[in-house]
């Protein structure tokens, strides 16, 4: 059954994390997902929650309203966007006064938020909507002999009250997906540690330290690579890995992949099409694809 979704591209993926966008656009259609591009989206507002929460709410409602106008559910590949949009939907559904107020503001752009649409992220889309069995049918080049550490991202699994794609303390869906692609995973004590990404805005050294500490742990435990599902986390672990290593006095050498890049590789898609050229971390070390 074909699933048709509005691709909510957000800010970070669509302005620099092209490896995620390319691999999303390459691999998901192979699973019968039709991604629809819509013009006019804006930031989800999550990065500005510390500045003004009403602004966050407004921006998220605006994006959901645009998708509703096209009668489409929303696919947000970024964990931050997915949280902002999901929280907005929940807050406005439970607070009719706020909904009215936001809708009065949205009238400036002839938009209305109803709150009927669904919001999915890469992880629940793959695991819950498409399903492991279906994914298995498409695996052509199993990722044999590799062991990955997983990074879910704080925004993806918390706060559970809002409804998140996986469990807040024991998330397992990425592991299940990686396993059907033929690779291994293992638990590690730092699995739920934060990448520090949001601190890039005001305390960059600390952000780098957080990422550096996690990468160092992954490296020391003998994983072949790290897999993530959020452009903020990925930017920290991949593009900024060398700098992160410097802050924790470690020479880091950890290949970092988006889950959708591994998916594409296992489906037999060419490396170039999955944006692997943009991974700054040493992904070529693994000789896959």
């Amino acid at each position: 059954m074909k699933k048709k979704l509005a691709l909510y591209t957000g800010c970070l993926m669509s302005t620099e994390q092209y490896g995620y966008e390319l691999s999303v656009r390459e691999s998901l259609p192979l699973l019968d997902v039709q991604l629809v591009d819509i013009a006019g989206f804006s930031c989800c507002g999550e990065p500005l929650k510390s500045v003004n929460q009403l602004l966050t709410l407004y921006l998220s409602a605006r994006n959901l309203a645009i998708a509703e106008k096209h009668n489409l559910d929303v696919f947000a590949p970024c964990a931050m966007c997915h949280l902002a949009l999901s929280e907005c939907k929940q807050v406005l559904q439970n607070n009719p006064d706020m909904k009215t107020r936001i809708n009065e503001m949205l009238a400036a752009e002839e938009l209305t938020f109803e709150g009927n649409g669904e919001i999915v992220h890469t992880v629940d889309l793959l695991h819950d909507h498409i399903g492991i069995e279906e994914i298995a049918k498409h695996v052509k080049k199993p990722l044999k002999g590799l062991k990955f550490a997983t990074h879910y991202g704080c925004h993806l699994i918390r706060p559970s009250e809002i409804g998140r794609p996986d469990d807040s303390e024991h998330p397992v869906k990425i592991e299940a997906i990686i396993s059907v692609l033929g690779a291994e995973t293992a638990k590690y004590p730092e699995k739920l540690d934060c990448c520090g990404g949001i601190l890039q805005i005001n305390l960059d050294e600390s952000a780098l330290t957080k990422s550096g500490q996690k990468l160092k742990a992954v490296q020391n435990q003998g994983f072949d690579g790290l897999v993530d599902v959020c452009p903020w986390c990925h930017k920290m672990f991949d593009a900024r890995q060398v700098k992160a290593g410097e802050t924790v006095a470690a020479k880091l050498n950890v290949p970092v992949f988006y889950l959708t890049q591994l998916l594409g590789l296992a489906f037999g898609v060419k490396k170039e099409k999955l944006g692997l050229d943009f991974n700054i971390s040493p992904v070529d070390k693994l000789e896959i694809g």
Partner: protein, 175 residues
Amino acid sequence: MSITDLTSMGEPQVELKKEINDRLSKLQDEVSDYCYQCAKCTSGCEAHKLLELEPHKIVALLKQGLIDEMVNSDIIWTCMSCFKCRERCPQKIAPVEILFALKNLAVAGGKQVPGKYTSVLQSVLSIGLIQDAQSVTTKDMKTKTRDDLGLPPLSKPDDPAKFQAGLMKIAVEKV
């Protein structure tokens, strides 16, 4: 009409301040009734070891009504919004939400926002995104744009004036 109301942090925003204060006093009531200072929030806090943030102390200070002290402190800007404190509090208190409210209040009160928050905000207010599309360099030093990669045009507000008109209502919104 300009977007300075939201960007010029020098001008205190009276209405907005009032609204955030209301939010905080609601949180204060909750905290006073339920927090028993078990410090579970702090034990898992991602900013605790590295930056000495102690969410249970934030909660205690709120209980005492020492809001100005916190608003004027840099410590509130060390939270990395991992939401572990909110997730794990046995009393369903959310220190992270208190911190968001305190930071919002600092901004509405005209305090200088730290780091790159001003430029991020300015970018969102003018083009709708935290930054415009970048050209990105591959490992073998080739520079590529979205267009080069065959990606569709960047989705962003197509009429910035209209987009800003909506945002302006947040700045001038009367409660």
